[in-house]
């Protein structure tokens, strides 16, 4: 259980990270707004409370791993990594610029703290399964977390990875689905309805939890429960809002890949400052 004080601090951090994401996207004028904002609360709990990692030593072997399978939410990841001290916050201004270490999609060879390259949806979770297997082989205490989109799970590969993780009994793996109900062409249930996710993971013999993906305490508790389950991988279905935190971006597929303009940034920052 987090204390009220801890919750307040994490909420404050999440608000701060949302501001960083919006500023970054406003500067680059290119990138993914909606899916970065929906993922922030989960990633805040992971990076600021849950994961064992050392920003001064990104190569620490026993660190927990995070795989952003929905790689287009790179701005959320970069905000967390800079916030934790992997690299200077100044760098965030170079997002998507020629020569920047902050590529449009996460690049393990360029950005300190990024564990695998992602961006092609569906492939991150397989790499997370492999990382969890390596971790277990090497008898490391690390846990492996991966974050997927609810459109991303339409990729058949996601279910191949799901099958493998259960088959190999990867209790050290936790997959979180950012269930914001939207993808690019519209609502996930209209574009290609994959149906209820919880029962699917259950049928593959995963440990399944469903939470409000913007409730810090609930996210933290779910991650506790995931860690307590050592025999099976855990799927956390996080119900989220695309564009969360900025009312005029919320629930809109149209802000999937559209950065804020001057006016939108100003209004968004004002709204976030007031909360």
């Amino acid at each position: 259980m987090l204390t009220d004080q801890q919750i307040r601090e994490l909420e404050d951090t999440a608000r701060h990270l949302r501001v960083e994401v919006l500023k970054m996207l406003h500067t680059s004028q290119s990138g993914h707004t909606g899916g970065s904002l929906s993922a922030i609360d989960v990633m805040t709990v992971l990076y600021y409370q849950r994961m064992r990692h050392d920003p001064s030593n990104p190569a620490w072997e026993d660190r927990d791993r995070f795989v952003l399978s929905k790689g287009h939410a790179a701005p959320a990841l970069y905000a967390c990594l800079a916030g934790c001290g992997y690299f200077p916050k100044e760098d965030l201004k170079t997002l998507r610029r020629l020569g920047s270490h902050l590529q449009g999609h996460p690049d393990m060879n360029k950005t300190p703290g990024v564990d695998v390259c992602t961006g092609s949806l569906g492939q991150g979770i397989s790499q997370a399964v492999g990382l969890a297997m390596a971790t277990r082989l090497a008898a490391r205490p690390s846990r492996v977390y991966t974050l997927l989109g609810d459109g991303e799970v339409q990729e058949g590969q996601v279910w191949e990875a799901t099958m493998s993780a259960a088959h190999y009994g990867l209790g050290n793996l936790c997959a979180i689905i950012d269930q914001n109900g939207l993808q690019i062409d519209g609502a996930t249930e209209d574009v290609m309805n994959v149906g209820p996710l919880g029962p699917k993971f259950l049928a593959f013999n995963w440990h399944v939890l469903e939470v409000d993906g913007h409730d810090i305490q609930a996210i933290s508790r779910a991650l506790d429960e995931a860690e307590a389950e050592t025999e099976r991988p855990t799927a956390i279905i996080a119900r989220t809002v695309k564009g969360k935190g900025v009312s005029f971006f919320e629930h809109k597929a149209s802000y999937h890949g559209v950065p804020p303009n001057d006016d939108e940034l100003e209004r968004a920052l004002a709204a976030l400052a007031m909360r």
Binding site: S28, S30, G31, G71, R96, R97, L98, G99, S100, L102, Q103, G104, H105, D107, C117, T118, G119, S120, L121, G122, G151, E152, Q154, E155, G156, Q183, I184, D185, T188, V191, M192, V194
Partner: protein, 312 residues
């Protein structure tokens, strides 16, 4: 050549026209219909449009099934996912049986820009070209795209068409012809030949202008069909000008440059320089910056021409 049009816009409009003309034309996409412009077709013919969701391999298999059932499917997504993610489905379900499937990939090459190397296909022409029975098209501009899409629809068999993201200069006249397997000499010349495809053709025309000021006469041959390659036109250029510079927004391995070198090696070897990505992936940046960074501009073509002439 001042007007600029995005080839994907023309694709979207042409699909709608084809849909009106032929009720067998059906369209598939993988959650990118706004970007690939198949959305235009989906609005007018919702019952003939199928969004596969983010599932490119299945989209390709469904397209093959639709073709087996007598339809003329056009399946679209970004080039990395079209040629890459669904490669084996294309091989087994489309190329091997010779299915009448048209794979129209947008966002080919580095001019995808800011999304970065993970989204920039520099290998699609090579892998599609290596497939038996596959026809590979890469139009230069808007007008040629319209004609190429119509030619693909009229042709019976698998076709891969590579289009781009950004607006590109118009080289061809509105209503131009497109014959699969035939290149076009856009400018005559006697000292060397630029053999180009896609957006590099416009750059080659600029380079030929610059070279003319140095009294170098450069021919410009555009190959809108990468496969089957126009062997006669390539060998004629080699015989008549004695030096070749190829240029493509793609790896120098296996695409246009590869195809031209294979043709020349067997038919009429002359000095060649291949302009393209030199066995490397792209990265984030604006399209314009990346074209400069990877050496895909008229100025780079001029230098390549001078180097090649020196080897004549």
């Amino acid at each position: 050549m001042s007007e600029k049009i995005a080839t994907r816009d023309v694709y979207g409009q042409t699909l709608v026209e084809l849909g009106r003309e032929n009720s067998k034309v059906v369209v598939l996409d993988a959650d990118l219909s706004g970007s690939t412009k198949t959305k235009l077709f989906s609005k007018e013919f919702p019952e003939r449009f199928f969004n596969a969701g983010i599932a490119e391999a299945n989209m390709t298999g469904m397209a093959a099934g639709l073709a087996a059932g007598g339809m003329i499917p056009f399946a679209s997504t970004f080039a990395v996912f079209a040629a890459g993610r669904a490669f084996e489905q294309i091989r087994q379900s489309v190329a091997y049986p010779g299915m009448n499937v048209k794979i129209v990939a947008t966002h080919g090459g580095i001019t995808v820009g800011e999304d970065g190397g993970s989204h920039q296909s520099v290998e699609d022409l090579a892998i599609m070209r290596s497939l038996p029975k596959m026809t590979v098209l890469c139009p230069a501009d808007g007008p040629e795209t319209g004609a190429a899409i119509r030619a693909a629809a009229a042709y019976k068999g698998p076709v891969y068409v590579r289009l781009g993201r950004g607006k590109v200069p118009v080289v061809f006249d509105q209503g131009c012809d497109f014959t699969i397997g035939k290149g076009v000499t856009l400018r005559d010349g006697s000292d060397l030949t630029f053999i180009t495809t896609g957006l590099m053709t416009a750059e080659a025309l600029l380079a030929a202008d610059i070279l003319a000021e140095e009294n170098i006469s450069a021919r410009v041959v555009h190959l809108g069909t990468i496969k089957p390659i126009d062997i006669d036109l390539v060998l004629k250029a080699a015989r008549e000008t004695g030096a070749i510079v190829t240029a493509e927004e793609h790896s120098v391995i296996g695409g246009l440059g590869g195809a031209v070198c294979e043709t020349l090696a067997e038919g009429y070897p002359v000095p060649v320089e291949r302009v393209g990505l030199r066995d490397e992936f792209g990265q984030s940046g604006t399209a314009e910056e990346l074209l400069v960074h990877y050496g895909l501009t008229a100025a780079h073509l001029v230098e390549a021409a001078e180097r090649t002439l020196a080897r004549k």
